[in-house]
């Protein structure tokens, strides 16, 4: 089935430097940097609202990677629209 596929298809690993952004949200694993009370926000200790903030950071990172890696010149040959 695979032998008759058109030439020029993606075969190996495709890596974009944008993918490195996906590492940023892992900051939330470094508990010592945010395990404290102050500054509080709306009465919420820093520990809690900081982690809510990292959700937003995570979303921004995945959206950026998605947008920036959409047009892959190598996948032209497969006839896909994106």
């Amino acid at each position: 089935m695979s032998s008759d596929k058109s030439a020029g298809r993606v075969t190996g690993l495709v890596f974009s430097p944008w993918n490195l952004l996906l590492l940023l949200p892992f900051i939330v694993l470094l508990t010592p940097i945010y395990n404290r009370e102050s500054p509080a926000l709306f009465g919420m200790p820093f520990f809690y609202w900081f982690q809510f903030a990292v959700i937003i950071l995570g979303v921004l990172c995945t959206i950026t990677v998605y947008r920036m890696t959409r047009k892959k010149p190598v996948s032209k040959a497969d006839g896909s629209t994106d």
């Binding site: 996906l22 508990t31 009465g43 520990f47 995570g58 497969d78 994106d82």
Partner: protein, 548 residues
């Protein structure tokens, strides 16, 4: 009996039952007699359906009652669910695309199908399949714990078999429409479930802090409660912040859980049911909306402390059930019609994941055990039939679990489930990128990871619950004993067991691979090609769906 709550609950439950049966005809192919159709909904779900489906799949009713209950009881450590779901999506963003592509290209239905194709090893596939089924079963049982917490709050708190009757009825209904409609049923019901959950939680997180004097009041009430308990080692290590002993546990548990999340068969089912890579990429950005919700909901555990909520005693076991904290909070703080909606949201929230999990387990059984070992020449129609039957068996197994055995065992087993599903990471996730690890090395790593994981979990006591074994997943580094060598003797710092044994598993797989390569042992035929990992929905020569 609380009639207003009950009537609203029954009405909404009736609505999703109708949806569950109608779902069979929703965007259906000519026939449901193929696993691509029954087990994966035709592999054509778009961004919205996938969002609701995977959201309903991962953020379960049990999560919604257990995470706040954890904060209520233990404080900050219970909040690990947030970092866990924060890093899960960036972590799997790339591998999940490869998994989708290779499965689409080769017609794989389960993660074990992929392992079978990649390594040409029915044994390795069987190991992955059995691990998946064993890890999923208690997870389904836990959905019942969530559903039962709600039923007991509504007044169905009888003892003995009578106390379980409402649960049994709810599950029979679920079993019948899942049998008929397959994955389309939970996909359609997920819409109702999530809309209800969103309404309830948004109202709760705005209304409750106002009523209870603001978040600062709520947090100080929690701090007061935790300070009143004796400090460790006599009492629990509860605190509004992490302590020096549980920070490593917090981070490794979050990482380990995130690594495990998309190894669970039901997550893979949700992923493979989507239409294409773009749908998945969008979802990796959109699914954290649920994490936000989960975090807010978790904080309601502290709100329950401030409101003076008491867990109700489960008359079947005779113990106070902290999982009733959230239902009881709604009971005490909201008018009964709103509490009814909240209960329905949690109750329906149990049905969606239970259905997907039973379908995923049934797919594993059918593809990697039944077809592999009992009926090599099973037609797609026979496969679909077998999977439907298996889904019934799986669900009733879960009900028997709750009725026949103490629900506490389901919780213990779920804990073990997280540790054991992690042990399939090298064979499934790493194999998506490289076949360098040898198949026999993967088997060896799995054996070591599983064995050592069981031993470590067995040795962990829980002082608060007066249990000697399987008391949690936090291992004191002091207890880490590698063949008599204790590298961290005397340390009270805790770490997640699953993480420790995964490292051991990987090291063994690495060393055995290096050794075995010197002896020219076959590493199996690889059915997949490099380009399989990049196919997408619009490719011209794409394998037809529901083909044999």
């Amino acid at each position: 009996m609380q009639w207003t709550e009950l009537i609203i609950f029954v009405l909404l439950f009736g609505l999703v039952t109708v949806l569950g049966f109608v779902a069979a005809r929703w965007r259906a192919a000519d026939s449901l007699d193929h696993l691509d159709e029954w087990g994966l909904g035709g592999r054509k779900f778009g961004s919205w359906i996938t969002w609701f489906l995977i959201g309903g799949d991962l953020y379960t009713a049990y999560t919604f009652v257990a995470v706040p209950a954890l904060l209520f009881g233990a404080g900050a450590t219970g909040f690990f669910a947030l970092p866990y779901t924060i890093i899960a999506y960036p972590l799997v963003f790339l591998p999940v695309l490869r998994m989708w592509s290779v499965s689409r290209a080769r017609g794989y239905v389960t993660p074990a199908d992929f392992v079978r194709g990649r390594y040409g090893s029915p044994l390795l596939a069987l190991i992955v399949a059995v691990t998946g089924i064993v890890a999923t079963m208690p997870y389904i049982a836990l959905q019942l714990v969530g559903l039962e917490a709600v039923l007991r709050s509504m007044g169905f708190n009888a003892s003995g078999i009578l106390g379980h009757l409402p649960l049994l009825i709810a599950f029979i209904i679920l079993a019948v429409y899942t049998y008929q409609s397959g994955l389309r049923a939970p996909a359609l019901i997920a819409f109702v479930k999530d809309i209800l959950i969103y309404i309830v939680i948004l109202v709760a997180v705005i209304y409750l802090p106002i009523k209870l004097g603001g978040w600062d009041n709520i947090f100080s009430a929690a701090a007061d409660k935790f300070e009143a308990t004796p400090p460790p080692p006599k009492g629990p290590a509860d605190n509004v912040l992490l302590t020096s002993n549980n920070q490593l546990q917090y981070a490794t548990l979050a990482l380990g859980s995130a690594l495990a999340l998309f190894l669970y068969p039901h997550s893979v089912t949700g992923v493979l049911a989507s239409r294409g890579r773009d749908v998945l990429k969008r979802n990796m950005s959109a699914l954290p909306a649920y994490s936000f919700l989960l975090g807010l909901l978790a904080l309601l555990g502290f709100a329950a402390i401030a409101a003076g909520t008491k867990p109700i005693t489960n008359n079947a076991t005779g113990r106070p059930d902290t999982n009733t904290i959230i239902p009881e909070l709604f009971n005490g703080q909201f008018p009964s019609w709103f509490a009814g909606i909240a209960f329905a949201a949690i109750g329906i929230g149990a049905l969606v994941p239970a259905a997907i999990m039973s379908i995923a387990a049934a797919n594993l059984w059918t593809r990697n055990v039944y077809k592999e070992y009992f009926r090599k020449n099973a037609t797609p129609k026979e496969e679909a039939k077998q999977a439907k039957l298996a889904s019934l068996v799986v669900k009733f197994g879960a009900v028997l679990f709750i009725i026949g055995i103490d629900p506490q065992y389901a919780i213990d087993l779920q804990l073990i489930g997280g540790v054991i599903i992690l042990q399939t990471l090298p064979a499934v996730a790493i194999a998506l990128y490289t076949k360098w690890l040898h198949r026999w090395a993967l088997v060896a790593g799995w054996v070591v990871g599983m064995g050592w994981g069981m031993i470590l979990l067995y040795q962990i006591p829980n002082l608060a619950a007066k249990k000697e074994h399987f008391g949690g997943s936090a291992l004191a580094l002091d207890k880490l004993n590698i063949l008599g060598w204790q590298p961290f003797e005397g340390s009270t710092v805790q770490i997640y067991v699953g993480f420790v044994v995964l490292v051991a598993n990987l090291l063994v797989a690495l060393v055995v691979t290096l050794v075995i390569r010197r002896f020219n042992v076959s590493n199996g035929n690889d059915d997949t090609t490099g380009e399989d990992y990049h196919v997408d929905e619009h490719d011209e020569d794409l394998r037809p769906i529901a083909a044999h």
